[in-house]
Symmetry: C3
Subunit: 183 residues, 3 copies
């Protein structure tokens, strides 16, 4: 049988930004976003914009958030990023308007090709459309699009697209019912 | 189809305590309870009591615990709160005698009405009765009562009541067997 | 019915190291390994070795890792320990060559006998053989051996051994397919 050889891993092709920018952001992320002593949201939004994130109005970031690369992030209007949410955006992540990402959720763009001996890095974008709700401690994998107003229930794992106005649960998440919004 | 409008979200009706008390506790929680450099349990119990928590004797808090509002918390005698446990008690949480909450578990009282356009906040109490064990990285939702000596297995999600002397697993957790305690 | 009595809990038999060594390591772990301001991997490997861990060459530790007792840890060559991985090794943990443990995973050696009134501590070793991949936010229980090149998918829970070259998912994890590695 073939074996994995992590010494052969090579992600030189992956260049998400200059070394200086990445290093600087690494420490700003730890010092400001992840820091529970810094609960003030608007200043964090301003810092993210300064590093290239596109962020609309009325966006709230709770404490303990971690974002890999702001310049690969777009957030619409009136969306909420909950406490300890981890946006591990090796790839581009778009978050639409009126999206709620609850506490402890993980958006995970990176993956590995377990069928290759060199365990190649694979990156997928994540798109959360308008009105989506990602529940507490959920994980969304790279390549997933959660369509308009989809809901992922607590601690579930989305590895495929989520249909609009649909509620999902489990690992892997399966559709359990429709979402109907009343007045 | 109706859409979510988070700019209409309004939780003014929710008044869990004075602003000063909430702000002060916020920083004490980060500085003391969540702080891994502060492993000493008895001092944390004393601080929680000073902020209104009812806590019995022989209670142990491991490092990294986070508690939203101590004045909405009651813990009996000889119960253990594990490392990095997150008691997000927007509503009242009662923890009985001889309860073990293992590392990384989440008690999540807050929820949202995903059927309302304004995504209204919904809060449920959580009650863990005598002898209950909540396993590592589990989540217990608001409104749940874990009855006497119920067990929730590792990384499971309880969104309904757990029967006494019963063992649950999965997301959502289902009963897998009885719990029998020998001498 | 018999009840749990945590005041009778007694783990005096469990002596994983001298008090001084345990206390010193506790603070080094918090100050260095768990500290996101300390991303430099090689220095962490050196410190772990100084505390008795056996670690091969080419091993990478990401920030935020937590290890209970380095002297109960062995890591082979070219293995990766991801961000916020928690090795709660009350028992011995061996990690082979070319193993990847992804972000937020938990290796959990400790357990309790829920059938005993005194909730006795139970400890199991964990062995991850060559080429194993433990996915993000997974939990591996004590007593588990993940055999050569097994894969545990995102946020899954392994409470039994994992077969070689097999892919597992869910809670509890079940085998979903074979892993075939191409050139």
């Amino acid at each position: 049988m073939k074996t994995t050889d992590l010494s052969k891993f090579n992600n030189d092709w992956y260049q998400p930004g200059s070394k200086v920018k990445k290093l600087l952001w690494y420490f700003v992320n730890v010092l400001v976003l992840k820091n529970h002593f810094w609960p003030h949201s608007a200043s964090k939004v301003a810092i993210l914009r300064a590093f290239g994130a596109k962020i609309g109005k009325g966006v709230v970031l709770k404490p303990g958030v971690s974002i890999k690369y702001p310049w690969l992030l777009s957030i619409g209007n009136h969306s909420w990023i909950g406490e300890n949410v981890w946006i591990d955006n090796l790839g581009f992540v778009s978050i639409g308007d009126h999206v709620c990402i609850s506490q402890g959720a993980l958006l995970l763009c990176g993956n590995h090709n377990y069928a290759s001996s060199s365990f190649d890095l694979m990156i997928g974008e994540i798109h959360l459309e308008e009105g989506v709700w990602i529940g507490a401690k959920c994980t969304v994998s790279g390549g997933v699009r959660a369509k308009s107003h989809a809901v992922l229930s607590i601690q579930s794992v989305a590895s495929k697209d989520l249909d609009a106005y649909s509620i999902y649960r489990g690992n892997p998440a399966t559709k359990i019912k429709e979402r109907t919004i009343k007045a």
